[in-house]
């Protein structure tokens, strides 16, 4: 009896498992389909697409659309391709990500390990920046950037993204540090380490996973942002997203779909790379075994 039950349990589990994987595979394919089509069409000559066969494999393979999107396409006034805007996005996103992650960590440290009267209210107010719709702040922010003399510059965009990133990064680090044993902080205090030394030497080196989370989240958001880029950037500081829009929306000449597809992939590659490189740290338990057995 017991053996029969075990047998049928094995059989059922095999059937369910097959079914499960099948469903997962279907969803994965469904999800990858748009990206697959982009990839396929970015390596076709234009006439193959306009000929009406978008789903077919390319009969003639070419990297010309990729080259054109990068360095030749008409985006702004001049035919520069997307390259300068890609660099704009990089020099905007990297400092903004680093600043917001660093200050999020510092905020999280203070809010959990150096609590003061009203720390919860401060935290609550910081969380506002996670949940207000950004359209609301466009005009006041434009005014502030004007006052700071940062209007239309990459520096201005860095400031905006840094300020609005702090809310989320503080949330991440606060929750991570809340679980960080306070006894470690006390031990370091007795050892003679001060506020910043504890932060640098004890807390930050143990924050690998949450730094990765914050980094991925912030980079994806800032890189993909269109609203702030379209509102606050000048021609020479426009980020990739705005440039891509300009490329695709341009109303002169022939619509070069293959170039558009290649450009869109250029815009997506950095966030994909960040996820692939840093994603593994998500699951690494760097704190394992530091406290208790």
């Amino acid at each position: 009896m017991a053996i029969a039950t075990a047998d049928s349990a094995v059989r059922t589990s095999r059937v369910t498992r097959t079914f499960l994987y099948l469903v997962l595979l279907l969803f994965a394919l469904f999800y990858l389909l748009p990206f697959g089509i982009m990839l396929l069409n970015s390596v076709k000559p234009l006439d193959e697409i306009t000929g009406g066969n978008m789903m077919a494999l390319p009969s003639e393979f070419t990297l010309e659309p990729w080259r054109k999107a990068w360095s030749e396409a008409q985006v702004g006034v001049e035919a520069t391709g997307l390259r300068p805007y890609f660099y704009n996005s990089l020099i905007m996103a990297i400092p903004a990500v680093m600043l917001s992650t660093f200050f999020g960590a510092l905020n999280g440290y203070v809010l959990t390990k150096w609590q003061f009267r009203g720390h919860n209210i401060v935290f609550g107010l910081l969380l506002f920046s996670c949940f207000i719709p950004f359209q609301i702040v466009l005009i006041p922010m434009a005014r502030m950037l004007g006052i700071f003399g940062l209007a239309g510059s990459t520096g201005g965009l860095i400031l905006v993204h840094f300020v609005y990133g702090i809310g989320f990064t503080t949330l991440y680090f606060r929750n991570y540090y809340a679980a960080f044993p306070t006894e470690l902080i006390r031990a370091a205090q007795i050892d003679g380490a001060g506020f910043f030394r504890i932060f640098w030497r004890i807390l930050l080196p143990s924050s690998g996973p949450i730094i990765a989370v914050s980094f991925i989240w912030q980079f994806t958001n800032i890189w993909n942002d269109f609203l702030f880029g379209a509102s606050f950037a000048d021609f020479d500081s426009q980020p990739m997203t705005v440039a891509l829009n300009n490329l695709v929306q341009s109303s002169t000449g022939v619509k070069e779909y293959n170039v558009h597809f290649a450009g869109a992939i250029y815009a997506a590659v950095p966030t994909l790379l960040v996820y692939i490189v840093a994603g593994r740290y998500f699951v690494r338990g760097l704190m394992a075994g530091s406290v208790k057995g």
Binding site: E183, A187, A188, I190, D191, G192, G289, S290, K292
Partner: protein, 371 residues
């Protein structure tokens, strides 16, 4: 004036006072154990000595210097935490020398100090490992190494053994005691385990409800508990508490109670007779340790006053070295510690020997000692 002086130390959180005017003077080289149930204030007191918590009123001084408001790192103390609190990102060696580095000790000196401590604690092979790769006992050693390397005036231990398994706990207990005897350092040690308190300390402070109930050597605490709380908290199995009525007969004082059948029995009180002269008819609680209630052959031959009383055995628990025999006096269960091969079986009527030299009397109202 002691080496470590705690005078009138009080701690309040808002309106709630959790520690009430604690007075303890610790001499140099002493091993003081603060023991008590959870929430008695022992860890708070330790944190106040460490400077991790402010002192609300009163004073704590080390070597005659007031420590009120002095930063933990400037008190020349070292602390071993319950969770060990090893820095997870540093190797064992870095963990041990971190404090020295923070105090600006040059690297060659740090390395020498680390080597000495590692040798003392036999953790040399572990120096380049991370805490995550160590067993519980090894982490415990590293945590002690981190404290020792600083050569502090006072060592503070916050329940350092409670995360270890039973066998390791006993081993480490011996090791800590050895270390104390070898180095002669001043130690304040917090635990809720009364056996740890008895075995390790030179003096014990039994705490409850934010008060120091009794401060004394392990023997004083065990033999002469100041009140019912100390009597029941210290010792395992705990002290037998028999409700009695006092009766003065000439110079002698008797404690009257009943056996398990309800028949009256009378026990001669050996000590404190004078204080009890006026107390005829008053009820009291007679406290007797299990080892002072035994079989006739196992009774202490040097005891001046031994009373023999026959009673029914309810339960016997052979524990190998001893047999614990449960019976009923005055309506409460009493445990007698008998020799392993003592002749006792449940339901049997045997003779119990009361070593009245060791008996103590408590007031049932105030729970304080009568005699």
């Amino acid at each position: 004036m002691g080496f470590l002086d705690i005078s009138n130390a009080t701690k309040s959180y808002g309106a709630v006072e959790v520690l009430h005017k604690v007075d303890i003077a610790v001499e140099e080289g002493e091993f003081l154990v603060l023991v008590g149930p959870s929430g008695c204030g022992k860890s708070t007191l330790l944190n106040m000595i460490a400077g991790l918590e402010d002192i609300t009123s009163g004073e704590i001084s080390i070597k005659g210097n007031s420590m009120n408001g002095v930063h933990p790192s400037k008190r020349n103390i070292a602390m071993v935490f319950q969770s060990y609190a090893l820095y997870p990102n540093m190797t064992v060696g870095q963990n041990i020398t971190f404090g020295l580095e923070m105090h600006g000790v040059p690297k060659p000196e740090r390395d020498k100090a680390m080597a000495d401590v590692a040798k003392l604690l036999q953790i040399e092979p572990l120096l380049s490992r991370k805490p995550g790769q160590l067993s519980g006992g090894q982490r415990q050693r590293v945590a002690m190494g981190r404290a020792l390397v600083r050569d502090p005036d006072v060592f503070l231990f916050d329940e350092p053994l409670s995360n270890l398994d039973a066998k390791l706990r006993v081993d480490m207990r011996t090791e800590i005691k050895k270390l104390h005897q070898k180095l002669g350092t001043t130690i304040v040690y917090v635990t809720h385990d009364q056996i740890e308190a008895m075995t390790l300390s030179t003096r014990i402070a039994v705490m409850n409800g934010g008060y120091v109930q009794q401060l004394g050597t392990p023997k004083e605490i065990y033999d002469n508990p100041a009140n019912l709380f100390v009597a029941t908290f210290m010792g395992s199995p705990s002290m037998n508490l028999i409700p009695v009525t006092l009766r003065v007969d000439g110079n002698a004082v008797y404690a009257d109670t009943t056996d398990s059948a309800g028949a009256a029995i009378s026990l001669p009180v050996a000590q404190g007779g004078d204080a009890l002269q006026e107390m005829t008819g008053k009820s009291a609680i007679l406290g007797l340790r299990p080892e002072a209630l035994t079989d006739v052959d196992g009774a202490d031959a040097r005891a001046a006053q031994v009373a023999h009383v026959a009673n029914d055995v309810t339960v016997t628990e052979p524990a190998g070295s001893d047999t614990f025999v449960t019976t009923t006096f005055g309506g409460t269960d009493c445990v007698a510690r008998m020799r392993a091969d003592a002749d006792a079986a449940p339901g049997q009527r045997i003779t119990f020997a009361f070593n009245m030299d060791k008996a103590v009397l408590f007031d049932p109202e105030t729970e304080d000692r009568l005699a």
